[in-house]
Symmetry: C2
Subunit: 160 residues, 2 copies
DNA sequence: TCTTTTGTAGATAAAAGATATCCACTATCC
DNA sequence: GGATAGTGGATATCTTTTATCTACAAAAGA
């Protein structure tokens, strides 16, 4: 029961794109260098975010990636779902039938257990649906004005 | 973000011990055969449940395993914790510093993100803390009277 | 239109963790 | 003291995650 490190990578990516000057795509090479992974691997991650509808890819010269929605419309759970998928956290291997036989009460107990865990997972998801990327950024920088920059510019001032 | 199959195995084990005639330990060989795993592997799982304080081991002739608490005192979360441990679901690899530099706002954002996910995990755990093994069994069998048997008896009636 | 720059997709390999087993050892009951 | 139970270490296998390379497709711009 761990989130993969891909979630952390996705979070960093979304933060970059959320603070990117409007209408200027960020190239994947810039991001891959920041994250310290190969361009090809970085693109795999980006692709997941594209498929999930969080970001858009812009092909061609001066292309790259931009947010597909405003940060206010991206709940944190979307990052997790994009990387991990949103499958049930508990999936049976059919062990109950093997252990107790293919009888009604076993089947019922199995479904009940599955249900209990799924409800817990729903509570987890609900918490992460409540907070958006925008809110997360605002609370981090202690202001509602999110500064933008052009991440493509290498050493504008390498902080912030 | 998946629960390991060990949780399912632990659940089956606890169900067996919860329906076991009082004061008669169930041998690990009986359980390992039911679950279809090797005796040595089954004992590893049992050990985790012992360490967590859910079951007790009884060495010697006519020994085996018995519940350490009544089913009413075992919340489902204990099964998960016993097998998976209860570490934070999100653990950073230090990527934020690599990506954004070792600056204050990055550190703060990282902690904030960690906090958000941890709170979601708490919601998950709270749900599984609310329901006990006893309640789970009662709702499965539709009665408050949990029948017991001796699982060591091979084919008493191989159902239930 | 053609070249360059960008993203897309498949094959593949290395690393980590989960799953599982064997065997030697220890403790306890009878 | 011998048989039967659990404990612990070393180890093998399998799956998933992480990561990379290379070939390919699409679009902007000259």
């Amino acid at each position: 029961m761990k989130l993969t490190s891909g979630v952390e990578q996705a979070a960093c990516i979304i933060v970059m794109l959320s603070t990117q000057a409007a209408d200027i795509p960020v190239t994947s090479d810039v991001i891959s260098e920041r994250l310290g992974v190969s361009p090809s691997y970085l693109k795999k991650i980006m692709r997941k975010l594209v498929v999930r509808g969080l970001i858009k890819s812009v092909p061609g010269v001066n292309g790259g990636f931009v947010l597909a929605k405003t940060p206010a419309c991206i709940p944190i759970i979307d990052l997790v779902d994009a990387i991990e998928g949103n499958e049930p956290i508990f999936q049976s291997t059919g062990l109950v039938r093997k252990a107790f036989g293919d009888i009604e009460v076993a089947e019922k107990g199995f479904l009940k257990f599955e249900n209990i865990v799924n409800e817990a997972q729903e509570a987890f998801r609900a918490k992460l649906s409540d907070i958006t990327v925008e809110k997360f950024l605002q609370e981090t920088i202690d202001t509602n004005e999110i500064q933008v920059k052009d991440w493509n510019q290498k050493s504008d001032e390498d902080n912030d």
